[in-house]
Symmetry: C3
Subunit: 146 residues, 3 copies
Amino acid sequence: MMENKVFLSFTFYSTILILKMYVVAIVTGQVRLRKKAFANPEDALRNGGLQFCREDPDVERCRRAHRNDMENIFPFLFLGAIYSLLDPSPTVARIHFLIFCVGRIIHTIAYLLRLQAPTRSLAYSVAQLPCFSMALQILMATTPYW
Amino acid sequence: MMENKVFLSFTFYSTILILKMYVVAIVTGQVRLRKKAFANPEDALRNGGLQFCREDPDVERCRRAHRNDMENIFPFLFLGAIYSLLDPSPTVARIHFLIFCVGRIIHTIAYLLRLQAPTRSLAYSVAQLPCFSMALQILMATTPYW
Amino acid sequence: MMENKVFLSFTFYSTILILKMYVVAIVTGQVRLRKKAFANPEDALRNGGLQFCREDPDVERCRRAHRNDMENIFPFLFLGAIYSLLDPSPTVARIHFLIFCVGRIIHTIAYLLRLQAPTRSLAYSVAQLPCFSMALQILMATTPYW
């Protein structure tokens, strides 16, 4: 596997996206501290008092971005790995990974910076295209083994 | 790996379930549009006005179904892959994958169509059985290497 | 892969953590029953009446613990697998997996038992260290293939 250049390319883009998700987590924590909005009483107590155990729209926005990442990037980690093992054209495969990676980075930027609709949903939809393509190719290769 | 028939069977069922999750995401978006209930002000603004940035019980139902999928299907993607490499009986392995796949599809149907309890929790519990079985078999095979 | 001792060690710790997540799911269900707080009307109806379709702070706490697990343990399943294939020192690799595993178990205990801050965030941060380390090592190995 570690001599399969498509797989190595896939792991590069996947790791970039996981680090991107970690950044969203860190941003969420920073917004919680700045807006003083904590999910747990024990955190609020340590940061000024129980009144800061509350919701905040900016925190919720970060959490929605993070959840959307989980809904979409985690399936990519699976589909991309299996697709890489199907011996696809390296150029075509790299286009799949690149579109997904760029689409998801734009999705996060559009979410956190509240860019005008439909920037975010467009980025989401474009990023889904390589996922559907990979899923269909995997099904075509594995249907005989159901 | 791509000559291991158990692994190919596993990838088939996994990809079906990932596509099933994508369907839940698409349904969520459709319900948001139909009920006019958006999570973000920028989406509401594009769809009639800020008053449509609101929660809706049908949207929340879709989101709970999706989240439950993440909690259960993602671990399966890991457990099933490792289990496939343990050289299990192909028939027994396929039964594991099939029970999980059918259980999770019924879970989604029961969730979105509000089927009477305990249909949904029963489907959830049945789908967990092959997961526990695979997890235990992996632990038995790998405990010497902890 | 199943002769790679680092990979086998990784699968052991990963499976332990997936079982740990299943325990959080089971605890959530038990708290829902004990506190009579259900997310769905059909579940509430079966357990005493529609008035029990309601939120509960203890249930929400379990759900936050579970979600934080998804945000962090699922990426580990990917990073750890790829890192294992990079031929790392078995001792160093095991330290990575052990720190993550112990950190995440302490995180769950601190969450569910409401341990005083910053126990939980400290466990979270310590568990992220091996993840960042593995992500950087993967990037260093795969950047030529982007």
